[in-house]
Symmetry: C2
Subunit: 349 residues, 2 copies
Amino acid sequence: VSEPTWMRREITEQAATVAATVAHGLGQRDDLRALCRSRRHVLFVARGSSDNAAVYGRYLLEAYAGWQAALAAPSVATHYHAEIDLSDTVVVSVSQSGETEEIVATQAWARAHGAAIIAVTNGATSPLAIQADLVLLTLAGREHAVPATKTYTAQLAAMGVLASALASGGSLEADLGRVPDEIDRLIAASAGVEEAVDVLAAAAEIVVTGRGLVYGTALEVALKLEETCLRPVRGLSYADLRHGPIAIIDADVTAVLVCPPSGPLLAPMTELAADLRGRGATTLAVGGDADMAAACDYLLPGPDLPESVAPLGLIVPAQLVVESLARRLGLDPDAPRGLSKVTATDPEG
Amino acid sequence: VSEPTWMRREITEQAATVAATVAHGLGQRDDLRALCRSRRHVLFVARGSSDNAAVYGRYLLEAYAGWQAALAAPSVATHYHAEIDLSDTVVVSVSQSGETEEIVATQAWARAHGAAIIAVTNGATSPLAIQADLVLLTLAGREHAVPATKTYTAQLAAMGVLASALASGGSLEADLGRVPDEIDRLIAASAGVEEAVDVLAAAAEIVVTGRGLVYGTALEVALKLEETCLRPVRGLSYADLRHGPIAIIDADVTAVLVCPPSGPLLAPMTELAADLRGRGATTLAVGGDADMAAACDYLLPGPDLPESVAPLGLIVPAQLVVESLARRLGLDPDAPRGLSKVTATDPEG
């Protein structure tokens, strides 16, 4: 038996890293509330997997905590040098390393324009952390594999902490406490993983879709599949898929439907699965309920968690599939071709 | 000689419809300013081509007018029924028909939560228009072809009017006045159109990318190519491409680089073109300057306009390519398979 990859080991560390990040973050709730008290908007600054975590943060803040939230367009800061008053805004910068130049520069722009700054990072002494008003550390330890796994779920945990601090009431704190055991249970069971690897290995075209709180998870599944397995994979929102691309769905397409376990978007996702299957696509559900499983050809079971925190568990079986699929394809999941741990969007500025 | 398609005719009407929409909208500038006076944020609500117009609106407002702007996630309203205070926000709903149920419902939610409402629509008596505080009409007349052309550029014109009203100073009004002649010049010249059709007809995989003020144009080019020509086409931001998918760019890929004629993002786009070409991709520049043309294999020349209003001209040669490519492929550009003029994201609610 060969050594497990770093990616595999780091996937299995996630129950611990999520628990640590949640416990640490919840201890900062009063500071978070004080920093945000006089402000009304949250603006996330992120790229890549961190951006997918921010998409979750955006939906969670809007749907759960009642705060307007949006994702920044960094070029507005770094290239257009826009003059925008951010005195009513909390900027949340998300970067594993805390060293991505574009994110650091956008955060500095936001601070200069009046924003309060929260950094979500694994780099305690990084420029992003040092230049923030408050740091939500992701306590993931060093991540050796290039594809983010434990740092990504730790970022999701930080989003949960932030929403829990900004929401008035609700069960988010208790729900976050249920996540680590679910992560361990999903890894131990690894239900549907090998079958999903078979399906994706044989796929000609892959489309990944999701909506609402799990939309960011769908984008992360697409990014991970593409960057680790080097296959073209499209991540599309439910709405973007319906507004055009659905016309070209046929038997060549394998559609991965990332679903919450419950909530108002499960029924529309189940209808979408039936629609895609009717067009000839091979359908793989990630998560969902019994109706969703019945509507799809294949199932990768998800966590038994409330929709609000489901993304922290839902990504885990997909990570297992990606790691295994990469090896099946003769690739090294720890070091995908052409990627490095800190990405420069603009190497030449 | 066969009759021109509706799509072709509507492409040629765009100089007139942009001119009419700008003239009409500029007459409402005082009302726009009064409506927005006590507010600080703009939130766009849109789907499909209208969403691509809103992406332009977002960058224009942020980079040019100094207003924070974002795109709404309609499910936050329609499915999560979130309780968010929008009393500091102007919601701009964008819909050609003004009848798309999801957009109408999201606008109603925004109004109930305190937002001021601007509707950008071609439907003067539509629910979206009737329920708005102010209507920026797109004076495009009836659009017969299913793929939006003249209604899309009229929406861009409305974005220009809005930014011109909210900006303090600047040359946007004068710049908008230069657009109609540039549209007519681009159509008359049709430079590079037939060659671009040849390139795209032979393409195995197509990726369209752009950044900043022309990012929405790149998304619209991708959507138009896909919905009208029924080919899978990926629209990716410059940053999203660099953060993963770039690793799988090879000689099978035709990369369409949508570029501003000038401005801070032209140099990074030119470097990206050289990078993609170095990986073996066939590169087609839409717009850009002489350096960009030199960095790419093929060129579809764009407008001679300032970056701020370039998207109103830049889409036109791409529309000509799409219309011609659809016919080349034996398809009807006026009635693409599986699409209708009003899209229901959630037919069953």
